[in-house]
Amino acid sequence: MNVLSLAVRNLVRNRRRSALTALAVALGAAALVFLQGFIEGFISTGIDASVLGSVGAVQIQRAGSLGADEPLKLALRETPELVARITAVPGVAAVAPRLVFDGMVSNGSESTLFTAVAIDPALEYRVCPLRATAVRGASTPLAAGDRGRALMGKALATSLGAVRGSSLMMQSSSPGMPGTNALDVEVSGTLSTLDFSESKHAMTVPLSFAQDLLRMPGRVTGYVASVADLEAVDAVADRLRAALSHEPVAYQVTTWHDQDVRLAEQIAQARGIFGFVAAVLFLLIAAGIVNTMHLSVQERVREIGTMVALGTRRRQVVQLFLAEAAVLGLVSAGLGASTGWLVVGAIGLRGVALHPPGGDALIVRPHIGLSFIAGVVCFAVAGAVVAALRPAFRASRRPPAEALRAL
């Protein structure tokens, strides 16, 4: 009779005891999976909001643009060759042009400052898909073919008394342009913003509109690219730098790390906290397993004595107990991890709303990778086996006669 099937039968025989141990391990596994899912969801939301909703994964601009006072002075010409060269770099998924500028927006009697990002709606949403959803209420994001439409921060709209459908005038100028230009714009809705300052000044307009307003046809302040694998963004950035190093114009390639330093720090913190909590949970579960294994072996002293008396080798006894531990660990962790995975998945579909200070709600969608689940299960199995080692060995060492006499 092979050890494994005997182990399984033993476990089933002692249903109650097995069930309770299994429950503790399962719950611990579920807890770990749940927590990890939450943390990862939180991190993803943060990254997405930044990378997929705002700055993009990789930015290509003229050298010196980062932190420049007047970005329009460093504008690039829209060249298909450059776009092709960027797209050709392995790892780059999509490229979109951007024009960043500021000026005054007025409702006819009052005016106030704005900072605008001009996007090409046909291309932008493949690079920053969250721009398509980062609008409040019934606002509609900019679509290809929208010329004189704009989205703005809520506080900005309120200060000018503008609502969906209102008409405003945007006024700006570019270096080298004498005087200013002004164009009418229809308010298409309001933007979801991350803080109050953004809400007071931010606007999003179509690229062609901005180029018209600034009398800068065919010019942009830079390109934004999305990458296939966000983990490899630095490698892609390096490849881009190499690919663009022989151009007559000096380019500057940055990643979202450079543009959003604080996010990277928050992520490291979140992972650190989770690591600590996970360690403690592991410890708790391990303690539980150790004790249960101990008790289990203790209770079955007579059984062990019988087996040894009947000629079962000590080695086989140990193997049996280890096998029981392993199966128990596997099944219970598997069940627990799957439950955790299901719960994470369910909540992930609904999403949890969190509010950054002064900003609009962010939806956090917990999610978990299969590798983590596999890791938890493996750990449970290994832990159970290790926990069972000592008691199993000790039990097997007792002389049969003594064991039979026990209890």
């Binding site: 807890a31 949970l281 708790l284 303690a287 004790n291 200070p357």
Partner: protein, 406 residues
């Protein structure tokens, strides 16, 4: 009851190994939770203190309408004469008052200009309200250590105006009447690290006297920062200060002005709450596990007790008391250990390094007794609950069946 209690205690001691399982599960959970709470308390204190003592001040006084106006207008100013400041300082509970002037202007080297926001401070008074002002100065000297024409700028602003430590620049701005004015300043230090999550990246600090001269606002400021004896509870001071300054002005606490601190703290508490729930649940399951085994093993004992006339209710109570006792003792020991750890680190301080802050942050963990009691009662109650189901099942057996089993 006392008999049951003694019996429960003796049973627990008798069953050392089993009790140890329950004990260790509860002990570990509680020790970790209480320690975590202590550290988190320390972290939260460090956060609000760094904001209150390093930037905002416990309370701030502005002219009515200043905070809600879009472009902070210099028209809505506050007086800084000695009499007025003394009136505020005389309010019981106030320890110091400091005037500040916020304005926007250009930094120019004579040829190129860059726009920035400025906060003008009175270094001596400011340090009494915000003693940790100097901490954010990464390089060079602070305002208080320098001459009257000193400026401390953020790295972004220094870079935008191509200025290094020791360089002179001119601050150019319009006063309330729209008339330009300019004054020379010398860059003596830089504030914070690049990439700080400030709403405005280009910020500079100068002396109040310089700003008052530049803006032609002698004896005026845009805000008054107030330090109090109990900054952790600034609300009671608000009406007292409002009465002292009169209806023209409004008083805000640091909660109003720096509301993001409350948000960060409540977010972290929320996460700790989840962690607490998880730990307690896992620990309670351990307890339940052992109780089940225990009841199972002692079925004959239970049978015996019932056979000699002990009521089912009392048998139940006995087991529950055992669980409760072990949990309580384990909880107390765990909490005590955690308390000791927190007290130790609370006295010594824990040093943490954050990339966005130039100097290391000192955290002083602390604990409230309320939290410890709460956790203790939760885990004791939880242990009782966890023990309930298995015990109930155990006492339902008929004495005869109980005696007959293993």
């Amino acid at each position: 009851m006392r008999l049951l209690l003694r019996l429960a205690a003796r049973n627990a001691v008798r069953q050392r190994r089993r009790s140890l399982v329950t004990f260790s599960a509860v002990f570990l959970s509680l020790a970790v939770l209480v320690t975590l709470r202590g550290f988190l308390n320390g972290l939260h204190a460090a956060i609000w203190q760094s904001v209150v003592f390093g930037q905002a001040g416990a309370l701030e006084i502005h002219r009515k309408g200043y905070l809600s106006s879009g472009d902070a207008s210099l028209e809505l100013d506050v007086p800084t004469d000695e009499a007025f400041l003394a009136k505020i300082a005389a309010v019981p509970g106030v320890t110091a008052v400091a005037p500040r002037l916020s304005f926007g202007g250009m930094v120019t080297d004579g040829d190129e200009t860059t726009f920035a926001f400025f906060d003008a401070l009175d270094p001596a008074r400011e340090l009494r309200v915000c003693p940790r002002r100097g901490e954010m100065v990464a390089t060079g000297k602070t305002l208080g250590e320098s001459g009257p024409a000193a400026a401390v700028l953020t790295p972004e602003l220094a870079q935008a105006s191509h200025a290094h430590l020791g360089d002179r620049r001119t601050l150019l701005t319009s006063d309330r009447d729209g008339v330009l004015n300019g004054l020379d300043v010398e860059l003596v230090g830089t504030y914070g690290q690049p990439g700080l999550p400030l709403p405005e990246k280009k910020v500079g600090f100068v002396e109040l006297a310089l700003a008052q001269e530049l803006l032609r606002m002698p004896g005026r400021a845009t805000e008054l920062a107030v330090a109090v004896e109990h900054p952790e509870r600034p609300e009671p001071m608000k009406p007292l200060l409002e009465a002292a300054v009169g209806g023209q002005y409004e008083v805000s606490t640091w909660h109003d002005v720096a509301s993001f601190v409350d948000d960060v703290i409540s977010n972290q508490n929320f996460i700790l709450g989840i962690v607490e729930g998880l730990f307690l649940l896992v620990a309670m399951l351990g307890v339940g596990n052992t109780m089940l085994l225990s009841v199972y093993e002692r079925t004959r004992e239970i049978g015996t007790m019932m056979a000699i006339g002990v009521r089912r209710r009392d048998v139940l109570s006995l087991f529950l008391l055992e669980a409760a006792l072990i949990a309580l003792v384990a909880g107390i020991v765990g909490a005590a250990l955690a308390w000791a750890a927190v007290a130790y680190f609370g006295a010594r301080g824990v040093v943490l390094h954050f990339p966005s802050v130039p100097r290391p942050v000192h955290i002083y963990p602390s604990l409230g007794l309320g939290y410890v009691f709460q956790m203790l009662s939760l885990c004791t109650g939880g242990a009782v609950l966890a023990a309930l189901v298995p015990t109930l099942r155990g006492v339902r057996l008929r004495p005869v069946d109980a005696l007959a089993s293993v």
